[in-house]
């Protein structure tokens, strides 16, 4: 404070302490480092990042407070952590703080979700009633009772605590609006990671980097989630960064720096959402592959690098597990999350067998085979859950596009799949060198699909409700971008960029009409 006053008045104070002598040097080094890092990102990548951030921020304005799936629980977790300095303990206590509970009631939240005919606040009188209720300053600290995400790790919520604290107002809606910007920032980082992933994969086709990144940026379900306080946003970023770092290490070789980066990203992913565990078999395979390729550099060095990657990933997770059972007094090292998602005994006493789990998981993505006696789904989930859900089941899954949009989209998917296949055939010689790492990516993908099926049958059979949502596949956004880019490449060298532009425009239009649909849902 004194320094800045003195500097502006022209009289510099004596910088006599050692720390103050060092500060400018350190700061300038950090600044220089950040500038260098930014310079390494192509201009198109920086623009894609900015576009994705602004687009997600606009979505954050369009979607009313708490109308992003599970946003009430995610905000509740972040608020508890910000207020108490520790994750919520869970248990049969009040789920939300008195402040959040009151806001939800005065926003008519419980009357709006699941009822597409109902609206929230539309009149000045209702708005005034909300403000005067919140002006009574109900407590922002709740009891941290069980919600659907109480047992998740705290990294995303710790990040969200920063805008919560920095908010100039203690008003819950102001804090929520600022916290939503963090999700938009994470989404923009994801888009940038997709851009860099494609750059690594197809260094000779710069146009594909922009097409893939923008196709993700404007994907409406992705942007809708980025609009809210939602932990999945950090999961999407960490999983996309994992794809990027593994590919980079595969193409450029494993170094100590890359090993540390891979470990750090895996740690961040595991501390973001436990779903990330599903990617671990594929990641482990990829690290083995990278180590094997680096063997000519010497066994000891390779072991050191692989060991470093594992240690950097494992130490923060182990620390989290330790804190759970000691300082935070949560029920188990994973706060009960693993046992909750994997329990095979149903409340009525029945047991879910491995056979049932495999059948269920298969039917979740593929047509049922003749020997699978149990039909778990009345409609084919590949279309109804995954494709239609990606096209858009918005809000708390309570409003959609007209039916013809989903029907017609199927034909588009067929056409794009055919084009992508044609591109794979055309590019087979260039694809061959990266096949080993893509085999690891396939294991990561299968791990995720398997985990969704494993948790899905348990949830469905114990609660009676469907579990699966299209967003659960979004940790594979990097592969979605590859699909879009391959489809554009499938149109040939002459028409590829034009088709790429058309696909991005289609994604933009898709996003735009999803926004108008959202405006009519909540304000019309």
């Amino acid at each position: 404070m004194n320094t800045s006053v003195a500097t502006t008045s022209g009289t510099r104070p004596p910088l006599d302490t050692e720390s103050s002598r060092r500060r400018p040097g350190r700061l300038s080094r950090v600044r220089r480092g950040a500038r260098d890092l930014l310079r390494r990102v192509p201009r198109a990548g920086r623009i894609c990042f900015a576009i994705a951030f602004i687009n997600a921020a606009i979505w954050g304005w369009v979607v009313p407070p708490f109308q992003v799936p599970d946003e009430i629980a995610h905000f509740g977790y972040a608020q508890y952590l910000a207020e108490s300095g520790k994750p919520p303990p869970g248990g049969p206590h009040a789920q939300y703080s008195p402040q959040e509970q009151l806001a939800l009631e005065r926003l008519f939240f419980f009357q709006v979700i699941g009822r597409p005919q109902q609206r929230g606040i539309l009149t000045t009188n209702e708005d005034r009633a909300l403000r005067s209720a919140l002006a009574a300053h109900p407590s922002p600290l709740g009891q941290g009772g069980d919600t659907s995400i109480t047992n998740q790790p705290p990294l995303y919520y710790a990040i969200e605590a920063i805008p919560y604290w920095l908010s100039p107002s203690q008003d819950i809606l102001t804090r929520l609006a600022l916290m939503r910007l963090v999700s938009a920032l994470l989404a923009a980082c994801t888009v940038l990671a997709v851009f860099m992933f494609l750059r690594e994969l197809l260094p000779g086709s710069p146009w594909t980097w922009t097409v893939g990144a923008l196709a993700v940026a404007f994907q409406p379900t992705f942007a809708f989630l980025a609009a809210g306080v939602q932990g999945d946003n950090l999961l999407f970023l960490t999983s996309t960064l994992t794809f990027l770092m593994l590919l980079r290490a595969f193409k450029r070789g494993l170094t100590m720096r890359r090993a540390v980066a891979i470990g750090a990203i895996v740690a961040a992913g595991l501390l973001a959402k436990l779903t990330f565990i599903a990617l671990l078999p594929g990641i482990a395979l990829a690290i083995l592959l990278l180590a094997w390729r680096a063997l000519p550099e010497g066994r000891a060095r390779v072991l050191k690098m692989a060991g470093t990657a594992v240690a950097v990933a494992a130490i923060p997770v182990a620390l989290y597990a330790l804190l759970n059972v000691t300082v935070w007094n949560r029920s188990s090292p994973t706060a009960g999350a693993i046992s909750g998602a994997t329990a095979s005994v149903l409340p009525g006493g029945g047991v879910i067998t491995l056979h049932q789990t495999l059948d269920y998981t298969w039917e979740l993505y593929l047509p049922r085979l003749w020997f699978m006696h149990h039909a778990y789904f009345s409609e084919y989930p590949l279309w109804n859950t995954w494709l239609n859900g990606s096209i858009g089941h918005f809000g708390w899954l309570d409003y959609t596009f007209p039916g013809w949009v989903y029907t017609d989209a199927r034909y588009l998917v067929y056409a794009l799949a055919a084009l992508a296949l044609a591109a794979v055939v055309q590019l087979r010689r260039r694809i061959k060198p990266v096949l080993p790492i893509f085999a690891c990516f396939a294991v990561m993908a299968v791990g995720l699909l398997g985990a969704i099926g494993y948790a899905g049958i348990r949830y469905r059979m114990s609660s009676g409700y469907p579990f699966e949502q299209a967003r659960y596949l979004f940790p594979l956004l990097a592969l979605y971008a590859v699909f879009i880019v391959l489809a554009a490449r499938g149109a040939g060298r002459r028409w590829g960029p034009a088709l790429g532009a058309a696909l991005v425009l289609l994604a933009m239009a898709h996003g735009l009409f999803a926004e108008t649909l959202t405006i009519s849902r909540y304000y019309g």
């Binding site: 198109a44 623009i47 894609c48 900015a50 576009i51 602004i54 687009n55 921020a57 606009i58 304005w61 009313p64 407070p65 926003l107 008519f108 009357q111 009822r115 005919q117 109902q118 609206r119 929230g120 606040i121 539309l122 009149t123 000045t124 009188n125 209702e126 708005d127 005034r128 009633a129 909300l130 403000r131 008003d171 809606l173 102001t174 929520l176 609006a177 710069p206 146009w207 922009t210 097409v211 923008l214 404007f218 002459r494 960029p497 034009a498 088709l499 790429g500 532009a501 058309a502 425009l505 289609l506 933009m508 239009a509 735009l512 009409f513 108008t516 405006i519 009519s520 304000y523 019309g524």
Partner: protein
């Protein structure tokens, strides 16, 4: 000079991209205009109770009152779902009153319609206050069922024949006539700023639209420059 001209001349690939971009942007603009110009009845809020089940049984000649009716200033019609056991709908008279019991709006629907969703036009005598109660007089002598929500008896529960009952009657409000989205824009702009952080307001929707336009321009320029 000629070299400079050659440098700025787009390649064949760029031309194709620009043509695709131009056509696609025109198609999107056309679709948006078409979508925004479609006329339909537009909502004006509700009493925040859904038509989940028949929540009130009201004998003919009785009055059912619904506190916390949340009548909005732009409401010109109220929609109610009514069950008459196959008989024609009796005449219905609705009055909205403030806390002091002074009427702020009223309307009537003559007998004879079919059961199901009925819409009663309402005429306003005063601006809607913060708290309104809707009272519906059921004509005739036969009982009717009104759709709404079940629930415990709370201060906002329905009152049938002077006695509070568990549940709420669903009242949905509509604006006058049919409107396009573009003609509803001023109202949408106002609604968009409500129920959010205090720094949001009437400026939010126009600024969001401008920002979105900026995003589109940036994306189109990027595509046209990068896709070669």
């Amino acid at each position: 000079m000629s070299k400079a001209v050659q440098k700025t001349r787009p390649t064949g690939s760029q031309m194709r991209v620009r043509i695709v971009l131009g056509l696609a942007l025109a198609a999107v603009a056309g679709a948006l205009i078409l979508d925004a110009s479609g006329r339909a009845p537009r909502g004006a809020g509700s009493d925040h109770a859904a038509s989940a089940l028949f929540a009130a049984n009201v004998p003919g000649g009785e009055i059912v009152c619904q506190p916390d009716a949340f009548l909005s200033d732009d409401a010109a019609r109220v929609q109610i779902q009514i069950g008459t056991f196959g008989r024609p709908v009796p005449d219905l008279r609705v009055t909205f009153v403030d806390l002091a019991g002074t009427p702020v709006a009223s309307g009537a629907l003559p007998a004879g319609g079919r059961e199901g969703l009925v819409t009663i036009p309402i005429k306003r005598t005063r601006r809607a206050p913060a708290s309104t109660t809707a009272c519906l007089h059921i004509g005739g002598s036969s009982p009717v069922e009104l759709a709404g929500e079940a629930g415990p008896i709370i201060p906002g529960s329905e009152v049938v024949g002077g006695r509070q009952q568990p549940g709420r009657v669903s009242l949905t409000y509509f604006r006058a006539g049919e409107e396009s989205w573009s003609s509803l824009l001023p109202e949408l702009t106002r609604r968009f700023g409500l129920g959010k952080a205090a720094f949001f307001g009437d400026w939010t929707l126009p600024v969001a639209v401008l920002m979105l336009l900026g995003v589109w321009v940036a994306a189109a320029r990027l595509l046209s420059g990068e896709l070669t």
